[in-house]
């Protein structure tokens, strides 16, 4: 089937009449969305400055509150007095614009993947992905499901995997520590990797998301 068939009616091209009676052709996908491809942003050339900034990024992990699968249940206790992730500079944010970490917390159905990609792309560079549980690594117990992905890193670059089904909050804290270590070591450049291998990622995404009714990159 052609992808076009899946485009929702309100994103179809249409002709509207302007107040002066002039006819305007509107193609929502082009007119409503920015069509630019993402850019790779090189780190600051000053190493010392860059490592200072990386320290700040590492110590201030703002997590997008995006729960997929069963793992989101394990994220919630992080903020309770028992685990208190705030101590480590981890905070939850409700909007991707202000977050720099997205946690894919478990299996991803195709439908959710689309939203996850969109949210990931709306975050600003540098941004980090944490994948939780077996499902994101090899599909886990849903490896043969008709509608869940098997390997997350084919669709977005993953910085840290946390194994388990499901991992406990302690494991998550350990994951955060690992992520901090990576960032401080200057290895948290996956956002640039995504931009550089954009074609490959997009091809993989488009392979399973058949109703691709959004621009290639969601700004």
């Amino acid at each position: 089937m052609e992808n076009k068939d899946f485009i929702k009616p309100y994103y179809e091209s249409k002709i509207v009449e302007s107040p002066d009676g002039e006819e305007i052709k509107v193609n929502p996908l082009e007119d409503y969305f920015c069509g630019e491809a993402p850019k790779s942003h090189a780190p600051n050339s000053n190493k010392l400055w860059e490592s200072f900034l990386n320290w700040a990024r590492a110590e201030s992990l703002w997590v997008l509150g995006f729960g997929t699968g069963c793992g989101s249940m394990e994220i919630l206790p992080l903020m309770t007095p028992r685990f208190d992730a705030y101590r480590f500079g981890v905070q939850m944010r409700p909007t991707p614009r202000q977050s720099n970490v997205i946690i894919i917390s478990g299996y991803l159905s195709v439908k959710t993947l689309k939203r996850a990609i969109r949210s990931y792309e709306q975050m600003q560079n540098p941004k980090y992905v944490m994948a939780l549980g077996s499902c994101t690594i090899n599909g886990g117990m849903y490896y043969d499901s008709y509608n869940t992905i098997n390997r997350l890193d084919h669709y977005m670059p993953v910085d840290v995997y946390i194994t388990g089904c499901m991992p406990r909050p302690e494991a998550l804290l350990a994951g955060f520590e690992e992520m901090k270590r990576l960032i401080k070591a200057g290895k948290g450049e996956k956002a640039n990797e995504y931009a550089e291998n954009f074609e490959w990622y997009k091809a993989n995404q488009k392979k399973i998301i058949k109703d691709w009714n959004m621009p290639d990159y969601n700004w």
Binding site: H41, A56, E59, D84, Q98, Q124
Partner: protein
């Protein structure tokens, strides 16, 4: 050629620097205290610095248009402007900023400058939640200001002046001369208003994180957000300093200024931790009840 103005600017910038750092630390401390109330350990005291640096260190930004870009500038101008027109230390010529160019009324109205810019910037973001947040904020603000206006008028009757410096001067000479003691009704009305002005719970439906992702600044990120954070770090303490100046005898040195304003600042935080959130149509009548009546009494009983 006199270089007085240069020295003046130098002191103003120094004051701004102190207030900014004080504000950031204050937020850290407050967050840590509120974490303790929740039996948590809480963030590091210097976490606001890290967040600020982190936000300035984002490598990419997006913009929805010119007004979106200018919104944070307006906001920060509002905050810094209020600071600039606010006398900080009583008796100190250097830390009176530009308070000689306008009185209390100027500060009251300049508070709106940032609000307006922020609202417009967020509006250009085009996000529905921004509009909802703004409409809630503006609606709520109408009655928040009312008791405060009454308190200010009451002060003007009491001290026969709108000049903050003169109001502070009239309160010198011990705690019994503070407005708190001489005009407790006005103080009460203003402090209740202050709860709303600071936007903490129960009056934080504007940014209501769960139902309405943080309201107006939904679309703001990276450097824009950093500018907004900077503003928050300045405006919060400055508003507290305003209260200190008006009702708590002002301050003759930095130490007493910081202690007093911290305590004033802590008051809405304390209330916010204890009380749940109001809807707009609950908070508007709330301000029209006790605070409003207190304000009217303050006018007629002074």
């Amino acid at each position: 050629m006199s270089f007085d103005w240069l020295i003046k600017i130098g002191y103003v910038l120094l004051g701004l620097f102190i207030v900014l750092n004080y504000g950031l630390l204050q937020y850290g401390v407050i967050r840590r205290i509120s974490a303790r109330i929740g039996k948590r350990i809480g963030v590091k005291v210097y976490q606001p610095y890290i967040d600020l640096i982190k936000n300035y260190s984002f490598r990419s930004q997006i913009t929805h248009g010119v007004m979106f870009y200018l919104g944070p500038v307006f906001r920060l101008s509002g905050g810094v402007g209020v600071f600039l027109f606010m006398p900080l230390i009583f008796g100190s010529e250097h830390f009176s900023n530009y308070s000689f160019s306008g009185d209390l009324i100027l500060i009251l109205y300049f508070l709106f400058f940032g609000m307006l810019g922020m609202a417009l910037g967020a509006g250009e973001g085009g996000h529905p939640y921004s509009f909802i947040g703004i409409s809630r904020g503006l609606s709520q603000f109408t009655t928040i200001e009312l008791p405060f206006t009454l308190a200010v008028i009451s002060l003007a009757i009491q001290y026969h002046t709108f000049s903050i410096t003169d109001i502070v001067a009239a309160q010198q000479g011990g705690i019994m001369h503070w407005t708190l003691m001489t005009n407790p009704l006005a103080t009460a009305a203003a402090m209740l208003s202050f709860l709303g002005m600071m936007g903490n719970s129960p009056f934080n439906v504007v940014i209501a994180p769960q139902e309405n992702p943080i309201g107006p600044p939904t679309e703001y990120h990276s450097t824009f957000l950093a500018v907004l954070q900077t503003n928050r770090a300045i405006l919060g303490p400055v508003e507290a300093i305003l209260m200190v100046n008006l009702f708590f005898g002002g301050a003759t040195n930095w130490v007493s200024l910081i202690i007093k304003s911290f305590l004033v600042f802590f008051w809405p935080v304390f209330v916010g931790i204890v009380f749940p959130r109001f809807r707009v149509d609950q908070s508007i009548p709330w301000f029209l009840k006790l605070p409003f009546v207190l304000g009217i009494l303050a006018i007629f009983l002074i």
